[in-house]
Amino acid sequence: MPASTRRALGAVIAGTGIVLVAVGAWIVIMLGPSGEAQFSATSKAPGAIAVPSDVLNAVDVPVRVTATRADGGALLLAVAPSPDARAILAGSAVSTVSGLHYPAGRLDLHASGAGALTDVSTADIWRLSATGAGSVALVVDQGRGPETVVVTSGDTTALTNAKVTLSWADRAWFFEALAMATIGAVLAAFALNDLWQGRLLTVRSNVAKAKAAAKTSEASA
């Protein structure tokens, strides 16, 4: 392999390693040892908030859903099979979590419907529920999907200016990021060393050539 090609390859590997180190280390710092990722959004549109199964059941780890009302009012968080949640919210004004952005930690909300909210508090479709005032959290385990979390005021009053936060925690993610950073560090070290060695070899070759040339000139003299 020509020296120039080898150097280019070494540079690419070193660059990749450095990127891995940077990204891995950054994710390690972002997730922390608990491996927790958080996403949140504030719903300005009046109505209920729904976290559908595409988001709720996308990862096989429990998700912690937290709802917070700025005015400290009542909150009901409940999870039900998605067909039932759709049925009970049909026609009502609902802000649905339609996507999430990592690492921004942002949730997309999609507002739909305009009807008055049904009083969902007496329904028997809810597998888990939590009520409270100001801020309420519900940990939804996996395995019963597809399920949807519905956040309401607990009666027919529409929610406004309510913040919903989703948190997933998996320590494996932390260690995966750590492994990424470590592999990157090894690659970068290897490649940089190879580059350094190649540079010295070139220097040595030049020195040898210079010595040979000097000897030749001395002999001829």
Binding site: M1, V19, N57, A58, A87, Y102, D119, L200, V203, A210
Partner: protein
């Protein structure tokens, strides 16, 4: 400063020989140990390094968010699909519902006033609510019937619905602490927003038993009312639920009407009702003409498939006892305490009616054979007279 000078200074600072810094010695020795030429060893190492880098690069590149490997690494997947062959309720949920409902029923029957009415509305629905209201109203004159069948502390969960359609049901059984007959209960939730409530309850008729239902985790399907003997064996029943109820109601009428080839076997409950009607007719014959009709209450029939393929069919019949007082006759009703309590009338000169709900449950075979009554209860709920 030239490159040579740089290396020379570096070796001086690190107190190393130039060959050590360049690792010439090490590579040469390693090549000798592996019986390779030095250049070959370097080539092999480079090939290995390039291979590793390629593999790692592929993994890293495909780990970029939005690409497949990220999902695999993080465990992100498509959400599971809703199963039509599982129960929409967990067993714990169903038990909580039973506990709540039966507690409300007990409170409703043991308290008075607005709180009682609220509890009863929480516990009962449709004919079930009408029946319990009648039972409470007549408690003073029907002590035997007034004893709440809901005193059993732990209702036994027998079956729950399958799939996400509505209406949904829960079938439960209680046994009174005094060792009375087991009672079957049907709880119905008509839609997602409406909670389960008791639609009907009926004492089992000895020596009837209930065949097992499918596992609670998979739920039991409802048999649609239009299903009859002509449909396939797996989905059909020996007799359509509504047909069964209509024929059963018809054969209990007084004056009696014969039902050819009844799809049900004779039972003690209908025998008692028919004998009672005949006795009343005979008792009032000199003063009034008595007749009795039974009609299936609208939307009261539910058929729940059992594991064997048979089904339990729940239904409510509305019995109307009619008295047409003969001309120039007055009927003293004081002896009929239920009638007096319901209507406030102690003397009838023209006509009177009494309405009774009959809660019945049949075991219906899947293919051939007759249905068997396994539970029944009757409750007077209304009366009128003039």
């Amino acid at each position: 400063m030239t490159r040579q000078d740089l290396i020379t200074k570096a070796t001086a600072v690190l107190r190393l020989r130039r060959d050590d810094l360049l690792r010439q010695e090490l590579i040469t020795k390693a090549a000798a140990a592996l019986r390779l030429r030095r250049d070959d060893l370097i080539r092999i190492v480079r090939v290995i390094v390039v291979s590793v880098v390629c593999v790692v690069s592929v993994v890293v590149i495909t780990s970029v968010p939005g690409w497949g490997a990220t999902h695999a690494l993080l465990g992100i997947h498509e959400p599971p699909k809703a199963s039509t062959t599982s129960a929409p309720l967990t067993v714990d949920q169903a038990k909580r519902i039973l506990s709540r409902t039966f507690t409300a029923a007990y409170l409703g029957e043991t308290t008075t006033g607005a709180a009682s009415r609220a509890d009863l509305r929480t516990a009962y629905t449709s004919e079930g609510l009408r029946g319990v209201a009648g039972r409470i109203k007549l408690a003073s004159v029907q002590p035997a019937v007034a004893t709440s069948p809901l005193l059993a502390p732990h209702p036994k969960l027998l079956a729950v619905s399958r799939g996400f359609g509505f209406p949904r049901f829960i079938v439960a059984q209680t046994v009174a602490p005094d060792g009375g007959l087991p009672i079957l209960h049907l709880l119905i939730s008509p839609d997602a927003a409406t909670p389960y409530r008791i639609s009907m309850s009926a004492e089992m008729v000895p020596p009837a038993t209930v065949k097992p239902f499918d596992r609670l985790s998979s739920g039991s399907p409802l048999v649609t009312n239009s299903t009859g003997p002509l449909v396939t064996a797996r989905t059909g029943l020996a007799v359509a639920p509504t047909t069964l109820m209509n024929l059963y109601a018809a054969q209990m009428a007084f004056p009696a009407k014969a039902v050819p080839k009844p799809p049900f076997v004779a039972d003690s409950f209908s025998g008692q009702v028919q004998a009672g009607a005949a006795g009343v007719a005979k008792g009032v014959a000199s003063q009034a003409t008595f007749s009795q009709v039974h009609k299936v209450a609208p939307n009261s029939v539910y058929a729940v498939r059992q594991a064997s393929g048979d089904a339990l069919v729940f239904g409510v019949l509305v019995r109307t006892d009619s008295f047409a007082v003969k001309a120039d006759q007055n009927v003293n009703t004081v002896a009929n305490k239920e009638f007096v309590l319901l209507t406030g009338k102690k003397l009838i000169t023209k006509a009177a009616t009494m309405t009774t709900l009959e809660f019945v449950i049949f075991a219906v075979p899947q293919t051939t054979g007759q249905a068997t009554l396994i539970a029944a209860r009757e409750q007077i709920v209304a009366g009128s007279g003039s």
